[in-house]
């Protein structure tokens, strides 16, 4: 091992702080404090540190090593997700999750990196008065991130049969499909992205951008909860908060020493639901437009289980290996999916021996899903009394419901085209299973009601949206708050509308551009 290779580790460790080290209140100073270590925050922290700025990256959750990963999906969620993984929207009830860990959602997502189609950026530019947020401008940032994270199409060797069957179904129907591009290096196909990659093939932020930021001199403080953004006139002066014990879920018992960080600029990357709450708790900061917390959008997702005549070894293969963008203009994207089996089995009907028989079919089952561009389904994020957990109000619009019905029917077509003998739609109020596409036509009818649909919403957007007009948006195209000179937001909250594809890559590209602009202004 060369001296060069080993020299980085000791100083890098000295720049990390974990919960067990905090024994008193503290204050720090830096050029830029980044709040939140998810994909956008980590990219921003690295890029700013690489420019030579003194950066502190703050994360409320702890770092996880491979020995900290919990294989039981349910128990894993209690450790890696806010509210124990049981967060729900009000209005249209829908589960939604937000990670709390070093690396944020990248630790427990399926590593999908998709560039939105040109039409998305055109829509954003036209409706939100944006001049520099298009594919041509962002492509250099996408390219740099792709190179850094090894983003590439999922190879056939690790697709596994359930992903390849998705391709077969698309081919049989003449629908375009492609292997999903993911931020992985050397994926082995363990199918356990959602509980943490034990092979460390997934390039989550804790094994990629955060170590790189540490190498560039950034400091990383974990287990710290930012509670307030400090302000003086039209400038912010830093942040303050308290140390928080791992897995304490924000309870008072878990909070201890106070801290304060002074900075020349603050980058909020706490996530689309946490950033607006933080602004609201900070005397309704950056809200002259009245748009903070408004315009909440999701990609609501639906899924169907298909039962094949033979065992397909679904445990093996990339968690999400294949997709189809053929229906983007109709408002939905199709994907193959795997997750911890109990999570998938929640949709199975029945009790007793009937339910157990369904479980026993799992080795023959594939799950395919659709995420909808639900631009008409809006909501808001509100602060909760004496808590940093948000209240999420959101309603599924009837027009978006129609998109989801249509997507269910298309998934059913794919399954039967791929050779499934039955499908389990997991929708209440209609039969539990279908054995032909003719029977499954009911999926695209008014018999499928929103209240009977199992919907999940894990892509969240727009609560601090970017808009060229300061009276109609929270940040400008560089992510800077219209109201303040040195407060930036770098998470999916700044998306003006849903991006129609998985948002991580777009968030990182916007954050990289932002970091370059901010770095030049310091």
């Amino acid at each position: 091992m060369s001296a060069l290779a080993t020299d980085w580790l000791t100083p890098a460790r000295e720049r990390v702080r974990v919960f067990a080290q905090y024994d008193h209140a503290f204050e720090e100073k830096c050029d830029v404090v980044v709040v939140g270590s998810g994909p956008s925050g980590s990219v921003a922290a690295y890029e700013l540190a690489a420019q030579g700025h003194d950066v502190i990256l703050l994360e409320e959750g702890p770092p996880f090593t491979v020995r900290d990963f919990e294989l039981d999906g349910n128990l894993s969620m209690t450790r890696t997700m806010r509210e124990g993984g049981l967060r729900m929207t009000q209005g249209t009830t829908m589960p939604t999750m937000q990670a709390i860990a070093l690396g944020g959602g990248s630790l427990v997502n399926s590593a999908i990196c998709v560039r939105p189609p040109d039409s998305v950026f055109e829509r954003w530019a036209n409706r939100f008065e944006l001049e520099r947020t298009d594919r041509a401008t962002l492509d250099p940032h996408f390219d740099a991130i792709a190179d850094f994270l090894g983003i590439a199409p999922t190879p056939d060797e690790i697709q596994g049969k359930r992903n390849l069957l998705f391709r077969e179904g698309c081919d049989a129907l003449g629908v375009s499909s492609e292997p999903i591009e993911r931020n992985v290096r050397g994926c082995r196909g363990s199918g356990e992205c959602f509980t943490g990659c034990r092979s460390r093939a997934k390039q989550s932020m804790d094994v990629s951008y955060i170590p790189a930021a540490l190498r560039e001199g950034a400091r990383v403080l974990t287990s710290v909860q930012v509670q307030e953004i400090r302000r003086s006139g039209r400038r912010v002066t830093g942040v303050s908060g308290q140390v928080v014990a791992p897995f304490s879920h924000g309870s008072k018992k878990g909070l201890s020493h106070r801290f304060r960080i002074e900075a020349k600029a603050v980058v909020l990357a706490a996530g689309c639901t946490a950033t607006p709450v933080l602004l609201q708790h900070s005397d309704d900061l950056a809200n002259a437009s009245g748009q903070v917390g408004e315009n909440l959008q999701f990609h609501p997702g639906v899924a169907i289980a298909g039962v094949f005549p033979e065992v397909i070894d679904p445990q093996f293969g990339a968690t999400q290996g294949y997709q189809s963008l053929a229906f983007i203009n109709e408002g939905f994207k199709l994907e193959s999916l795997w997750a911890p089996p109990p999570l998938l089995a929640l949709r199975f009907p029945g009790i007793g021996a009937e339910l157990q028989a369904r479980f026993a079919e799992l080795p023959q089952i594939a799950i395919w899903d659709a995420i909808a561009s639900a631009n008409r389904s809006l909501g808001r994020v509100k602060k909760r009394f004496r808590s940093l957990d948000p209240i999420l109000e959101w309603r599924l619009h009837p027009d978006d419901m129609a998109i989801m019905r249509r997507s269910l029917h298309v998934i059913a077509q794919l399954f039967f085209a791929a050779g499934a003998e039955r499908i389990l739609p997991g929708v209440g109020g209609i039969p539990d299973s279908f054995t032909s596409i003719d029977d499954a036509a009911i999926l695209d009818s008014s018999a499928v009601k929103a209240s009977n649909l199992v919907v999940g919403g894990n892509h969240v957007f727009c609560t601090t949206r970017m808009h060229g007009d300061p009276t109609r948006g929270v940040v400008d195209e560089d992510g800077r708050c219209h109201d303040l000179e040195n407060l930036y937001i770098a998470d999916t909250g700044i998306f003006p509308q849903c991006p129609s594809v998985n948002p991580m890559f777009t968030g990182m590209a916007l954050a990289r551009r932002q970091a370059h602009v901010l770095g030049g202004r310091l």
Binding site: R13, L75, E83, I158, R198, A201, P342, F359
Partner: protein
């Protein structure tokens, strides 16, 4: 004075009845529970017995899967508000017999004290109830149990769905950070221990290859 005595007597009788219905007559709780009280543990077993009966298609029955211990661990890990909600759910279904009685004499007794046939009947009626709130109760209840039952290592292994055996790796994260709760000085690894870097090329796993040892060794009691 007389009216006051009557009010006190009624209140006392009511209190006694609630106490009797809510707390009296439950078997002792299994050892090692941190959150569930004995009534809740009995309720969990009563639901598990009928949701996942013995002789089904999986290795373990619901009772053999020791769901009170799993659910207790899950509840202990949840935020207080969510924990309260799940316990409220259990206690609501335990006493839902006041509204949806079992198919037997005394069918309004607690859910956990009814026969298996009555419990099946009640769950089935909740699952198909015209009122969406009742259906939601059933769905939420079943979800809590499915995680513990299907997720039991013996059941997953029996289905061939247990995680693969993967030797622990050492990446930047393992070099830079301690285990959760540990001091920085507790990091076990140095650069020479690294097994993963940007150039690592891993072979794909064998779909029929070795599975996680803790799962393949799991018996009827092991988790």
């Amino acid at each position: 004075m007389f009216i006051g005595l009557i009010v006190v007597a009624i209140a006392a009788a009511l209190g006694l009845a609630i106490h009797r219905r809510g707390y009296v007559g439950y078997p002792p709780a299994p050892a090692g529970l941190a959150v569930l009280h004995r009534g809740e543990a009995a309720f969990v077993d009563a639901v598990a017995e009928v949701l996942f009966p013995g002789g089904g298609a999986l290795v373990l029955s619901g009772v053999e899967a020791q769901l009170p211990h799993y659910i207790d661990r899950h509840l202990a890990a949840l935020p207080r508000g969510k924990r309260v909600l799940i316990r409220l759910l259990f206690n609501t279904v335990e006493h839902i017999t006041l509204l949806v009685p079992g198919d037997e004499p005394g069918g309004r007794r607690r859910f956990s004290s009814l026969s298996a046939a009555s419990r099946v009947s009640i769950l089935d009626r909740l699952a198909h109830h015209p009122n969406g709130l009742f259906r939601l109760l059933f769905t939420a209840l079943r979800s809590v149990f499915v995680f513990g039952y299907l997720g039991h290592p013996a059941n997953l292994h029996g289905l061939g769905l247990s995680p693969f055996e993967i030797e622990p790796v050492v990446s930047d994260a393992e070099l830079l950070f301690p285990r959760v709760g540990g001091l920085m000085s507790s990091i076990d690894f140095e650069e020479a221990d690294r097994t993963v870097d940007r150039d690592t090329v891993n072979p794909p796993l064998d779909p029929h290859g070795e599975r996680h040892r803790a799962y393949s060794r799991a018996g009827r009691t092991g988790r």
